[in-house]
């Protein structure tokens, strides 16, 4: 089942690459819809009350090394996989107008990317995880490098070098862990559950954690390793930006959640404050830089730095609300930032400019666009009733229990967030319609509505009734928090019973 969801996109990618160009659009979209259809039963078949990995597939692969093909899914992977399979058809549908050359290559790479990302979220063997992690990079590199803007090659190479450099550090640390397993247990294994059983000296935990943390922090991206992100977003085609912000950045935070933190809990205690500090800097710095952008796409890119800072803050709060909120915020960001990039793409296709100053007064010309843009803006800034609020609230709640001062500083990010988004909205949508070129703008077409409305729907659903999502996130988070707590009784991170409010605990449902 999980193999099907992981490998089907890769197989279909090869098939789409062989299609004739004139049916590539239909073929690519159909392929992505097939993958979505195959992934949906996971939602229904998944048992939210079970905290262990489900649909597990475990087959020996390279037996000499103890490497196995081990896939499994908990609530967090489930939601991230569905986010991936849900966004891919949207991206391809949006690409019908934006992608001017070689759609079949574009669709094939997008599908290959989808498969690799799904594999990253499902792999329970560090070797397998590393392979998928690296595989994600190649399609993304070509998507930006071939279909991107003017400085696309620079952006693609920068993305590649940053990520590959981090990955190599991660490889060294994982190999040290692998060797440690051999020393302690006597057998070779790259299986995550096996590696979690090791007890490592804090000093070795520390350097291994730093290696993994750098690799994941580049992907997140955390300040000060974020500089590849604005370049990549500005140069990427719309679909590339959507998948980059929507899913790829979550690979970094997911890496922290699934690997770096559970594997090295003592190092988390030691370096947690540093990471919280960087997360808060990211929140505020990202927001402030977003405030001064005159390019709307760059603004959205920097808003990602800020939002992902929130996610990291929640994760390192190490308590129920913080971590749950952080996972939920990963999904929110996937929905709202994806929608923002799509909207920017819609405007760019019509006017070929992303300068905020070139717009103004658009509400009068394209009211449907303005409405969707407004809803998504509100979702992004965390207006109650929409998805962003739930995540940010829980993160701040969790963060406040552990680190009040940094959390108060981070809350200013919410205000700055409202400021840059609303100011940008105001400059683009309201005011006098001065620019002649904007007077003939076409409003959203049926196709554009088809791919935007699902995201709007989710923004509402996750804001009004987040329970189905939280129910699936909670068991996984409980396991995570329990593992953290058992390692630091008595440390500032220990938070006891009062940590998880009753409305979040499992018994309440």
């Amino acid at each position: 089942m999980l193999s099907l969801v992981t490998l089907l996109p890769i197989v279909l990618a090869a098939a789409v690459a062989l299609l004739p160009e004139r049916v590539a659009r239909a073929g690519g979209l159909a392929a992505s819809l097939v993958v979505l259809a195959v992934s949906l039963p996971l939602w229904f078949g998944f048992d939210p009350s079970d905290a262990s990995y489900q649909f597990v597939e475990h087959v020996p692969w390279i037996e000499q090394w103890g490497v196995s093909y081990h896939l499994g899914m908990d609530g967090v992977s489930l939601l991230l996989v569905l986010l991936t399979t849900g966004l891919t058809p949207i991206i391809l549908l949006a690409g019908f107008s934006g992608v001017e050359k070689n759609f079949r290559g574009y669709a094939a790479l997008m599908l290959a990317l989808e498969g690799a990302m799904i594999g990253t979220f499902l792999a329970l063997d560090v070797f397998l995880f590393y392979i998928f992690w690296e595989l994600v990079l190649l399609p993304m590199y070509f998507l930006i490098g071939v279909w991107g803007g003017e400085r696309r090659i620079y952006a693609a190479v920068k993305l590649f070098i940053y990520t590959a450099g981090g990955s190599l550090l991660m490889l060294v640390a994982l190999l040290a862990l692998y060797t440690a397993h051999h020393e302690q247990v006597g057998t070779w294994s790259t299986d995550l559950p096996d590696l979690l059983k090791l007890s490592l000296a804090p000093s070795s935990q520390k350097w291994m954690f730093v290696c993994l943390a750098i690799a994941f922090a580049i992907k997140v991206p955390m300040f000060p390793l974020h500089t590849w992100l604005p370049d990549a977003h500005v140069e990427a085609p719309t679909g590339g930006s959507v998948v980059l912000a929507g899913v790829m950045l979550k690979m970094g935070t997911y890496g922290f959640y699934r690997f770096a933190m559970p594997l090295f809990p003592d190092a988390v205690v030691a370096y947690g404050p540093v990471l919280i500090g960087l997360a808060v800097i990211g929140v505020v710095y990202g927001a402030l830089v977003a405030l001064v952008q005159d390019d709307i796409k760059k603004l959205v890119a920097y808003s990602s730095v800020s939002h992902l800072g929130f996610v990291m803050l929640g994760l390192f709060a190490l308590n129920g609300p913080g971590v749950t909120g952080s996972i939920f915020q990963m999904l929110n960001h996937g929905v709202s930032t994806a929608a923002l990039f799509l909207l920017v793409g819609v405007l760019y296709e019509r006017r070929h400019t992303r300068k905020i100053a070139d717009y103004g007064g658009l509400t009068k010309v394209i009211p449907r666009f303005a409405l969707v843009f407004m809803i998504i803006t509100f979702s992004s800034i965390g207006l109650p009733g929409l998805n962003g609020f739930v995540g940010e609230f829980m993160i701040l709640l969790g963060g406040f229990q552990y680190a009040p001062i940094p959390t108060i500083v981070a809350s200013s990010g919410v205000i700055f967030g409202a400021a840059y988004m609303l100011w940008a909205f105001q400059r683009m949508m309201f005011g006098p319609l001065q620019n002649e070129a904007n007077k003939g703008l076409k409003d959203l077409s049926a196709r554009e509505l088809v791919y935007l409305l699902p995201l709007v729907f989710f923004a509402f659903w996750m804001g009004v009734y987040p329970k189905p999502f939280l129910d699936r996130i909670n068991p996984s988070v409980n396991v995570f928090v329990a593992r953290m707590e058992e390692h630091f009784e008595g440390s500032p991170y220990s938070c006891g019973d009062g940590c998880t409010p009753s409305w979040l605990s499992k018994e309440a449902h």
Partner: protein, 491 residues
């Protein structure tokens, strides 16, 4: 019945070497008789010889290790593995050379004869169990390759390449020979097992002489594998030599030298770890860094691959350093050396198959990276195949290069060489940049590259890239074979 005389036994055991030498002589004579050279018979005969030799090596594998010619050669799984690697490299070089040599206007039968002699020398190196044998085999290989470099006599750069390689190579051979002499002086033998025995018994008579001999050996081998600081010759020689010869130099010569180097480290001098490991560590670290960093600034593909070859020599020396650091049986350092060598030969063979097609209509090599622009559109097959080789060279999954790097790094960390693994990781991260550059040109820039048409080069590329992917996803069989070689050399 009585047993056969031992020499005959030895000849049978060394059949692969004998066959190569014999056919080398036959082709040399034939080249003098048949002028101008009929292309197909010469090419066919040499391919067939190498393929038959490969079969002979394969037939010999699985047998227990035996010594031949009074212990001069040791026919074991380690030797068989590297012999197969060397022969695969020879086969791929031959596959691209017939039409390539025709394109550059060199139609001499001696070419094939020299390739066979070079391969014979390489096989001698990988099986050699005695420093004298190592030296003689190395000279057989080297002299053939010196001539091959300059085989296009009308081309000044090729002549310069051959001459440069010859002068520096002769110099380094002399240094190696000095090293052998000093080691002999200190231990009383040139046979690897005897040297190891003396060292285990508490070293030879004079520690100073032994250290000097060891240092000279390091310099000699360091030159042959193009390790920093003895790497300077490689870029110029690689660039000037005909591409088909460069392909052989970059893979076969390197594999044979590493194998011989490995035998000396593992079989003899490894016990003298205090002297060896420090030097190996620094050479490996410097080679990985300098090779990768210098490649960043190159614009000629052959020079890029020359520096890439230097960097890879560094990775391989990291494995040797892990061996010397001890616990070789535990950490699989020798297995990783063998596995990575095969991966390296395959990815280089594929890449050079494309480079061999980059000749101009005047018959000159033109391997500037610009000439790849637009290849993705005009020649999708070549571009895809070259990309697989480059991704593998960069050590990214799902290719054999990744499995090889994983193995190398894990062996190094298992041997406690975490620092060296970090240096390697930094080097490899820099390496990603220059391996991506050809892909940038092929897929992201416009151009109309003109490439020669040659089905056999395409076959070589298709085969290597397919093997790189297959062994990248299912490495178990090769790993098992590589690990068997590890067991045999330690036994």
């Amino acid at each position: 019945m009585g047993s056969a005389p031992p020499v005959l036994d030895s000849v049978i055991l060394a059949a692969p070497l004998m066959l190569l030498a014999l056919m080398g002589v036959v082709l040399m004579v034939a080249a003098a008789v048949f002028r101008p050279m009929p292309r197909l018979p010469f090419w066919g005969a040499s391919c067939l010889t190498v393929a038959t030799t490969l079969v002979l090596v394969a037939l010999g594998s699985g047998k227990p290790a035996t010594e031949a010619f009074s212990g001069m050669l040791r026919i074991d799984a380690y030797g068989n593995f590297f012999a197969a690697v060397v022969l695969v490299s020879g086969l791929f070089s031959l596959l691209i050379s017939d039409s390539y040599m025709e394109r550059i206007g060199v139609r001499v039968g001696e070419f094939y004869s020299l390739v066979l002699f070079a391969l014979c020398g390489m096989l001698g190196m990988v099986y050699s169990n005695d420093l004298m044998m190592t030296f003689i085999s190395l000279e057989v290989m080297s002299i053939a390759v010196y001539v091959l470099c300059a085989i296009k006599r009308s081309d000044d750069r090729a002549v310069e390449s051959g001459f440069k390689y010859f002068i520096l190579g002769a110099f380094s051979s002399a240094i190696l020979l000095y090293g052998v002499a000093f080691v002999y002086g200190a231990t009383g033998s040139t046979a690897l097992p005897a040297i190891a025995h003396t060292l285990r018994e508490g070293g030879g008579e004079a520690a100073g002489i032994l250290a000097l001999g060891g240092a000279l050996l390091l310099v000699g081998f360091g030159f042959k594998v193009a390790s920093v600081p003895f790497h300077m010759w490689a870029p110029d020689v690689y660039q000037g030599a005909p591409t088909a010869v460069t392909a052989l130099m970059a893979s076969g010569v390197k594999a044979a030298s590493i194998a011989a180097f490995g035998r000396v480290v593992i079989g003899a001098m490894g016990d003298d770890a205090s002297n060896w490991n420090g030097a190996l560590w620094w050479m490996a670290a410097a080679t990985m860094l300098v090779g990768n960093l210098a490649a960043l600034a190159q614009n000629d593909l052959k020079r890029i691959f020359a520096y890439s070859g230097i960097a890879h020599a560094g990775y391989l020396m990291m494995a040797l350093s892990s061996v010397a650091a001890g616990g070789a049986a535990e950490n699989g350092a020798i297995g990783s050396l063998a596995f990575y060598m095969l991966a390296y030969v395959l990815m280089n063979a594929g890449a050079f198959a494309v480079l061999a097609l980059m000749t101009t209509s005047e018959g000159d090599d033109a391997t500037d990276i610009d000439r790849l622009a637009g290849l993705g559109r005009s020649h999708p097959f070549l571009a895809a195949g070259l990309s697989v080789c480059l991704i593998s060279l960069a050590g990214l999954p799902p290719t054999m290069g990744f499995i090889g790097k994983f193995y190398l790094f894990s062996a190094a960390i298992g041997a406690g060489e975490v620092g060296l693994a970090f240096v390697g990781a930094i080097g490899a991260a820099a390496g990603v940049y220059y391996y991506l550059r050809p892909m940038v040109y092929m897929y992201m820039r416009e151009g109309s590259p003109d490439m020669a048409v040659d089905g056999r080069a395409r076959l070589a590329l298709g085969l290597t890239s397919a093997l790189l992917l297959i062994f990248g996803l299912m490495p178990s069989a090769i790993l098992q074979w590589a690990n068997a070689s590890m067991a045999s050399v330690l036994g």
